[in-house]
């Protein structure tokens, strides 16, 4: 999987928001790649910049104050950042599709499901007009909706949350995209429905042969779905590795603490590990040094002065922490 050319390459991405005349970076120097047919999970708590990052890729940032300041987003080698709105429209929904967290707000409440499905096919494919509705029904059947020929005439409010998410998936795969970005696709759903949707996404991903960028806060979903995992904290990538090493050999103190703070069904701990404090808000980010320093159990005095860089500690395993930085004398201190 590693020898082929990456499908998506995000390089040193900086996305900033203008707040009271000052630019604050919600995404600061983020780099990672997604290979064809690979499932990459972006994991992090609220406010870590994972959603802003996905909106940056799709060029869906709020126009009035959000913008990409630096960096490149290469899709099959072409940079998406300088593209115009019209050029992006050619790519969005066709080569790159997106599923959102809240299927109620992502669907238009006053248009029928069929109309919204047809629109995607009409805009991005050369399916003949009379064939379009048939294709829509087929797609709905593909995502496991049994009454597909009736559902096309219904409105979003008539469907349950799980059904709406299925419709969103059907729309997203209508053009056989090469990359699917799924932003918390199951967070609003119940566990038994989440299990259905995750199974469906895996099945579709294999059928269509697409790569997936799955954004989530749920480490259980990560373990279930991911090939590779990118952990984000306060707008930066802090760890990037394959799924097995993330759970069995985590390196960054934040990743370790996060894994320790989730209650599991099979453990008998009385007290959960916690991470003291909270994620700093965009306006209160430390100006210098590591962004995790205030909450880090392994923090050293240097951590407030040196900006750690994302460095490879092992093949395919990168960490942003001076504990693992060879150029610092404290390298590989006991953690």
């Amino acid at each position: 999987m590693s020898s082929q050319k990456p499908l998506l390459e995000v390089q040193n991405l900086h996305t900033g928001f203008n707040i009271e005349g000052e630019t604050h970076y919600a995404v600061k120097d983020v780099s990672f790649t997604v290979n064809p047919k690979e499932v990459v999970c972006i994991v992090g708590e609220s406010g870590c910049g994972k959603s802003v990052m996905s909106l940056s890729i799709m060029d869906l940032l709020p126009k009035h104050n959000g913008k990409i300041d630096k960096g490149h987003i290469l899709f099959k080698g072409n940079d998406l950042v300088p593209l115009t709105e019209e050029e992006m429209n050619q790519i969005r929904g066709k080569d790159i599709s997106m599923i959102f967290q809240e299927p109620m707000t992502a669907l238009n409440p006053v248009l029928t499901i069929g109309y919204q499905m047809d629109e995607v096919l009409f805009n991005h494919t050369d399916t003949r007009k009379e064939e379009i509705r048939k294709k829509s029904v087929q797609l709905l059947q593909q995502v496991g909706i049994s009454r597909a020929d009736q559902i096309v005439n219904e409105y979003p409010h008539q469907l349950s949350g799980g059904m709406r998410q299925r419709v969103m998936i059907a729309m997203a795969i209508a053009c056989q995209p090469q990359l699917l970005i799924a932003d918390e696709p199951t967070t609003a759903l119940d566990v038994t429905v989440q299990a259905q949707i995750l199974e469906l996404i895996t099945k579709i991903q294999e059928e269509v042969g697409m790569a997936m960028l799955l954004i989530t806060h749920d480490l259980g979903v990560v373990a279930e779905m991911a090939d590779r995992v990118v952990v984000m904290y306060a707008g930066q990538v802090v760890e990037d590795t394959d799924v097995d090493r993330l759970f069995y050999e985590p390196k960054h103190p934040y990743t370790k603490a996060l894994l320790d703070s989730i209650p599991r069904m099979d453990d008998h701990r009385e007290v959960l590990n916690t991470i003291r404090g909270i994620v700093p808000s965009l306006k209160n980010m430390p100006k210098q040094g590591c962004r995790f320093v205030d909450r880090c159990p392994s923090a050293m005095p240097e951590c407030t002065k040196i900006d750690p860089a994302l460095g490879e500690v092992d093949k395919g395993h990168s960490v942003r922490c001076i504990l693992y930085d060879a150029s610092h004398p404290e390298k590989k201190a006991e953690v």
Binding site: V191, V193, E224, A226, F247, R264
Partner: protein, 331 residues
């Protein structure tokens, strides 16, 4: 404040709920006549022992929140009995109900909506004390300061407003308010589901500490079975207004009896990539509580359904010691 002390004996159970039902009327048509019921809670029975944490778990719409609020008497039950310390509180009204509230407090899910944005945190926490005539002016502030400290908030929080705090801190404010009157029972309705994992573990640990310190009985309502299992001594699983299984927390996980509990446990994604166990994937969605299936409420989705499941409604029965299941497989 003198409380009624007519209890016959100090029973082991702080709270007993017997065949509790809560229906919401559905009105329709020109005359707004009652055309049906939403059976939010359809016959649940459970009891809480003193000092234990009882976890109530289920998916959205299963009636767990309605059950919690009916037990605290925020809602009036449609039928059934609620006994608190052996006293029937099902039909309490007026000042009697008001006095009961000193013993039963609630922590709500949404820390943004459950605190008055126009009140200072100091007033929010002291309000229950003022309402029930506890403490004079000077003592009141000391007491609130102690509570703030106990839940891990800084002293200057007293003069701040809720919007100045993060979600986790707001939940701490909510917990301090619930603790102010030193209640015997706290009903916590999804207290951590709006919080991030790193903050969630802080609040869960705090709740556990406080429970031991104040000898509280806790009814912990949540949809996340891993969180419920971590917190609870015993767990009740709800489906469509019914309690389908009640057992010790470890038993529920190690030896789930009801097909729904089994599916629920297997549906939880485990944070371990090497452990991809077999899934029981349920088909379909939860039916509407306005028109629940005849027979066992779970039978249309049940992988083990038998013909008689659509005819006979199973009752909650003991299959092992302290392990009760409502399923025809065990009858």
């Amino acid at each position: 404040m003198a409380k009624e002390t007519v209890k016959t004996e100090k029973s082991e159970h702080l709270l007993q709920v017997q065949e509790l039902k809560k229906y919401y009327p559905v009105r329709g048509g020109f005359l707004r006549r009652k055309v049906g019921d939403v059976k939010a809670v359809d016959n649940i029975s459970l009891e809480l022992k003193r000092g234990e944490t009882f976890g109530l778990v289920g998916e959205s719409g299963c009636g767990k929140s309605t059950a919690g609020r009916t037990i605290t008497r925020l809602f009036k039950p449609t039928s059934g009995n609620i006994l608190f310390e052996g006293r029937d509180i099902t039909n309490l009204r007026g000042s009697e109900l008001r006095n009961l509230r000193q013993d039963i407090q609630m922590v709500f899910q949404d820390p943004y909506a459950s605190l008055n944005p126009k009140m200072m945190v100091g007033s929010i926490i002291s309000e229950p004390l003022v309402n029930y005539g506890h403490g004079s002016e000077g003592k009141l502030k000391d007491e609130v300061m102690q509570l703030l400290e106990r839940v891990g908030l800084p002293e200057d929080a007293y003069y701040k407003y809720p919007h100045e705090f993060s979600g986790g801190q707001r939940q701490r404010i909510g917990i301090a308010r619930a603790l102010a009157l030193k209640p015997k029972l706290i009903v916590a309705d999804e207290p951590v589901s709006a919080l991030d994992v790193s903050v969630q573990s802080q609040v869960l640990n705090l709740l556990k500490e406080l429970q031991e310190e104040f000898n509280l009985t806790l009814l912990f309502i949540a949809h996340d079975l891993s969180v419920v299992k971590h917190m609870s001594d015993r767990i009740g699983v709800m489906y469509l207004g019914n309690l389908v299984e009640v057992a010790d927390a470890d038993d529920i996980y190690q030896d789930p009896k009801h097909p729904y509990t089994q599916a629920l446990i297997s549906a939880i994604p485990q944070p371990d990539p090497r452990n991809k166990s077999e899934r029981v994937i349920l088909s379909g969605d939860v039916p509407s509580p306005q028109n629940p299936p005849v027979g066992c409420p779970f039978h249309p989705r049940c992988p083990k359904a038998m013909p008689e499941c659509s005819e006979k409604k199973p009752q909650l029965k003991e299959v092992n010691r302290e392990h009760r299941v409502s399923c025809l497989l065990y009858e």
